[in-house]
Every structure is written in structure tokens, then in C-alpha cells.
């Protein structure tokens, strides 16, 4: 997704001199082309994320559209108060980009797992929280962020689903995408793990279970209507996210259903539960280890449907 993001950002930067990209000394080999083509729209501030976010705010308040770029938790949790007080309270036009949502940097260890970002950042006023699941969503989200004034967090994943958009489909922040039709169960996913949801839905189809797979690329603003429809029309909801169970996608879906007075027949959240993910392994391995692979999704769907039948 990061290459897709940079390519799209370069396409936009050609025509819009307000675009400004700041990195906290990361992006080896990825940002080089941007820097070469747009030297006056690029800055490496060094390993200093608090200053990066403050500088971004200053530049944005003076009229630029500023993207801050780093990996994992560095552009978010490391400088959380700068995001809250400087960027968001002033509604500054800063787009915070993290490469490496969830277990993207699995083997690098706990420090590099971005597994609390969605919950923490969605609590901050004025901040849109966007977490694409496909390369198309990542590219379109990049354009949409530029058109949308104000703060945004863009969580990019190393993995992505290869699901293609429908012909002529328009991307809109805050509008969920229904990727497969089905009424037996709804599988709601955010981020690259969407691919697992789609894989599971294909396996379920073989057993006669038709799943409605929904991609939530916008955690905030959130598409309540599509979720309430799924709660009304399907046999239950299973949420899937490479994130802590507290406060992420599953929580948003549960809140939405309660607030909307529509209660799914069954409900399961697949997310990182228990303690930190201490096991070493790549993204694929960690998904399997912590119960968010296709087997886990299929099992959760079966259990959810069984609990409804019981």
C-alpha cells in the first residue's frame, strides 16, 4: 500500500504545490522519488516525531496540506499529544500516515505492532480515521484526504486484498463498501486483513453459507447505515481487525448497533485479545497465532450461527 500511496501522492503533488510530505527519517527507497521530484515539498525532520507533528501543524496553519509519514506507532502514539492539541484542536490540515498497521512489521517485535492506534485516535475530535483494505482503497483514500480539509489518520498495511472496485465505483470517506452479497452472516473487516475475510467467505460459500463481506475503510466517520442494515438483514455479525479488541472496529460496530437499537442475531469480535503479542513471526503467522486467520473466521462464523440456532 505504501508504494500505491506515494505514487498517488506524487500524481497530486504535480498539480498542487500545497502538498508537503514530512518524514521522521523513515521510508528508505520509498520516498526517494518523491524527494527528487518535489524537493520543495519534502522534508526529513530526523528522528523527532513530536517536532515533526508540531512543524506539520505550523506549515498547515500557514496554508499547506501536510502529510507526516513514519512507521508503526511513531507518527501516532509517540506524538499523541501533538496530534490532539496542535493538529486537531486547531483543525490543521495535517494527514498522519503510518506505514505498517497491525502486524505489518510482525517480526520486528512488539514495539512495531500498531495494534492500539485505531482505538486511541478515533477518540480525538476532528480527526478522521481511515484504514484501507485494498490497494484501490488506499489510492482513493489518499486523494480523498487531500480534498477533505482537516486532520486525518491514514493507516496503511503491508498486506492488502486484491479485490477490485466495481466499474465506475466512487470512493467516499465514511461510506463502507459491501464486497460480497449474502444474508447468512456479515463479516466486517478493516485494513489489509480484509483479504482474510474474503478468503473465509469463499470457503464458507462452499459449505452453503453466504457471507456479506463489508470493508470498513473509514473507522471515523463511520457508516452506521450499512452496519445497521447488516445487523437487520443477516444471521449475525463477525468483525475482523488486526488491532486490540478494545476500542477498535468491533467496538465501533457494537456501539453503532446499540445506539441504533438494532441488535444482530449473533456477534463475535476477532481481534488481538489478552496480552501483548510476544511471539515472533510475520504478519501471516501472527494472524494465525492470535486467532485472526481464515480458519478462525470460519470457526467464528459457525459458532455465531450455532449460537443463534440454539
Amino acid at each position: 500500500m505504501r508504494d500505491i500511496f506515494i505514487r498517488r501522492l506524487m500524481d497530486i503533488a504535480v498539480a498542487d504545490p500545497r502538498i508537503f510530505l514530512i518524514t521522521g527519517d523513515l521510508g528508505f527507497g520509498v520516498l526517494t522519488q518523491f524527494e527528487e521530484r518535489f524537493p520543495k515539498q519534502f522534508l526529513n525532520v530526523g528522528v523527532a516525531e513530536q517536532n515533526m507533528t508540531g512543524v506539520a501543524t505550523g506549515l498547515a496553519l500557514e496554508g499547506r496540506i501536510v502529510f507526516t509519514y513514519s512507521i508503526g506507532n511513531f507518527p501516532t502514539l509517540r506524538c499523541l499529544e501533538q496530534i490532539r492539541n496542535d493538529v486537531c484542536y486547531h483543525n490543521a490540515n495535517v494527514k498522519i500516515v503510518s506505514i505498517g498497521g497491525g502486524f505489518s512489521y510482525g517480526q520486528l517485535g512488539m514495539s512495531h505492532h500498531a495494534t492500539e492506534d485505531l482505538a486511541i485516535l478515533r477518540a480525538i475530535p476532528n480527526l478522521a480515521v481511515v484504514s484501507p483494505g485494498t490497494d484501490w482503497e488506499a489510492a482513493e483514500a489518499t486523494s480523498a484526504l487531500v480534498s477533505r480539509p482537516g486532520p486525518c489518520y491514514l493507516r496503511l498495511d503491508k498486506s492488502s486484498s486484491d479485490a477490485q472496485p466495481r466499474p465506475g465505483e466512487q470512493f467516499e470517506i465514511g461510506r463502507a463498501r459491501v464486497l460480497t452479497e449474502g444474508d447468512d452472516i456479515a463479516i466486517i473487516a478493516t485494513g489489509g486483513i480484509l483479504a482474510v475475510a474474503l478468503g473465509a467467505s469463499r470457503r464458507l460459500a462452499e459449505t452453503g453459507i453466504n457471507a456479506r463481506v463489508i470493508s470498513i475503510h473509514s473507522i471515523k466517520p463511520f457508516d452506521s447505515e450499512t452496519i445497521l442494515d447488516a445487523a437487520r438483514e443477516t444471521g449475525g455479525i463477525v468483525t475482523l481487525e488486526e488491532h486490540r479488541i478494545e476500542g477498535g472496529l468491533g467496538s465501533v460496530v457494537a456501539e453503532t448497533c446499540m445506539d441504533g437499537g438494532v441488535f444482530p442475531r449473533g456477534f463475535r469480535r476477532l481481534a488481538l485479545d489478552g496480552g501483548f503479542a510476544c511471539a515472533v513471526g510475520d504478519q501471516q503467522y501472527l494472524r494465525q497465532r492470535y486467532g485472526m486467520d481464515e480458519d478462525a473466521v470460519c470457526a467464528a462464523v459457525q459458532q455465531t450461527l450455532a449460537s443463534v440456532d440454539a
Partner: protein, 255 residues
């Protein structure tokens, strides 16, 4: 004094230590137009020691950005004037602060943008001494020097007392001027209660065309009220009736 006593807010000592600095900035140094607070070529002033926001509100009202009567609402329920400086519904406030270590990075970003665009306004950030404990201040100090932001002026209100104890007993800053110099800044030290000396120091900025400037203003916490001067207590205490009257008497004698 009236604002903090009526409202029951803290930090009067921190306001008084920077009062002469603010008076000099708003009284002639900063290029501002109260009828056009967002004029593109205005100087940008950021109070990074946001806890002394009452001083900026008072200075802005005196400079005509909003009616002086609005100051009566400071710290009151339903007011726009919070204890720590906030920009919402307050014309002239460039940046809301209150958590320390935020002003210099944002000011550096503004200065960097102005330099990129070839604009000539100045960016002035006023910090506290205790604030210089924050690592983000030094991240921004490195950044501003590396990018030769001569349009950036940092003023440190060096009253030598922080939240609980003297700076020297908490997290010593000395040799303070040398630290800023080592980070690549031009440094001037000045008596922060001598308006003529302050104005001269401000007007000599930038001292170098390839470096940001730091003015270390030596000040007295609680300046102007004998029983508040050099006192940690008045970082927090609100003047009660007798103290309030005594303070006003002293202030009116010296003003």
C-alpha cells in the same frame, strides 16, 4: 491581577514574570493589526508557556483585539478565556497551548513555511524555563538551527523557579546560554524587566542571517508584588482579599 483573583485561577507569578516582555512585544515590536487579526504579513506570536495565558488575553485586549470587558469573564463558567491560552473565539491568539513543549515546534513550522515562501514576517515564541525540560523543545531547537530559521525568535522567561522548586534544584539548565549556542542559535541575555533593553534586544534580531535567535530574559517570578516575588507559592495561589488589595496597591505605585 484582577482577572486571576476574580476567576480564582493560578499562575499569577508566571504572568508577572513575563509581563514586561509581553508589554514590549505588543507595545511596539510585533507587527499586528487588531482590525485584521489574520493579516497574512502579521508577525506570529506563540505563548508556549500557556499557563500564563491571562497575560496574553490582557495584552490582546489592551491592543484592541477584543473589548477589555471580556477579560472579566476569565476563568468563569461559559467564558472563552480558559486558564491556559486558547484560540477559539479569541481573536489574536495564534496557537492554543497549555501542555509545555508544543510552541517551539509549531513556531518552527511556521517559520520554515515563511522561509520557503520568501515571506518576511517574524515568528516569536515565548517559553518558560521549566518548559525547557521537555525534549520536544530541543527537537525543535535542532530543527530550527539546521534549517537556519533566522525568522524565528525564541524568548525564554528565565525566572528560575518552576512548578515545585527552583530550577537549579529540579533539573538544572545551566550553562543555559551555552546550551542554546551549542544547538546552533544566536543567543542574547537581557534583563527581562527593562523595557528599553528588551526592545533593543528584539530589534537586533536576527543577529545572524543563518541562525535562529534565543533571547534569555532574566526575570523575577511574581515581579511587581513584593510578597509574590521569587516565590513558588504564587505559581499556584490565588490572591485573597487582603493580598489582592495589597498587590494592587504595590502595582499602582510602580506603574
Amino acid at each position: 491581577m484582577r482577572m486571576t483573583s476574580r476567576g480564582g485561577s493560578a499562575h499569577i507569578g508566571s504572568v508577572f514574570s513575563m509581563a514586561d516582555i509581553l508589554a514590549t512585544l505588543y507595545g511596539g515590536f510585533l507587527r499586528l493589526d487588531s482590525s485584521d487579526p489574520a493579516a497574512p504579513d502579521r508577525d506570529r506570536f506563540i505563548l508556549s508557556k500557556g499557563h500564563a495565558g491571562a497575560g496574553v488575553y490582557a495584552a490582546l485586549a489592551e491592543a484592541g483585539f477584543f473589548p477589555i470587558s471580556k477579560l472579566d469573564t476569565h476563568y468563569q463558567n461559559g467564558s472563552d478565556l480558559s486558564g491556559h491560552v486558547s484560540h477559539v473565539n479569541v481573536p489574536g491568539v495564534e496557537l492554543s497551548t497549555g501542555s509545555l513543549g508544543h510552541g517551539l515546534p509549531v513556531g518552527a513550522g511556521m517559520a520554515y513555511g515563511a522561509k520557503l515562501d520568501g515571506r518576511h514576517h517574524r515568528v516569536v515564541v515565548l517559553l518558560s524555563d521549566g518548559e525547557c525540560d521537555e525534549g520536544s523543545v530541543w527537537e525543535a531547537a535542532l530543527f530550527a538551527a539546521h534549517h537556519q530559521l533566522a525568522n524565528l525568535l525564541a524568548i525564554v522567561d528565565y525566572n528560575k523557579i518552576q512548578s515545585l522548586k527552583p530550577v537549579s534544584e529540579t533539573l538544572g539548565l545551566e550553562p543555559f546560554a551555552d546550551k542554546w549556542k551549542a544547538f546552533g542559535w544566536s543567543v542574547t541575555e537581557v534583563d527581562g524587566h527593562d523595557p528599553a533593553a528588551l526592545m533593543q534586544a528584539f530589534r537586533s534580531v536576527p543577529k545572524a542571517t543563518d541562525a535562529p535567535t534565543c533571547i534569555i530574559a532574566h526575570t523575577v517570578k511574581g515581579k511587581g508584588v513584593s510578597f509574590m516575588e521569587h516565590s513558588v507559592l504564587w505559581h499556584y495561589r490565588t490572591a485573597r482579599e487582603e493580598e489582592f488589595n495589597a498587590a494592587l496597591r504595590e502595582l499602582s505605585e510602580t506603574s
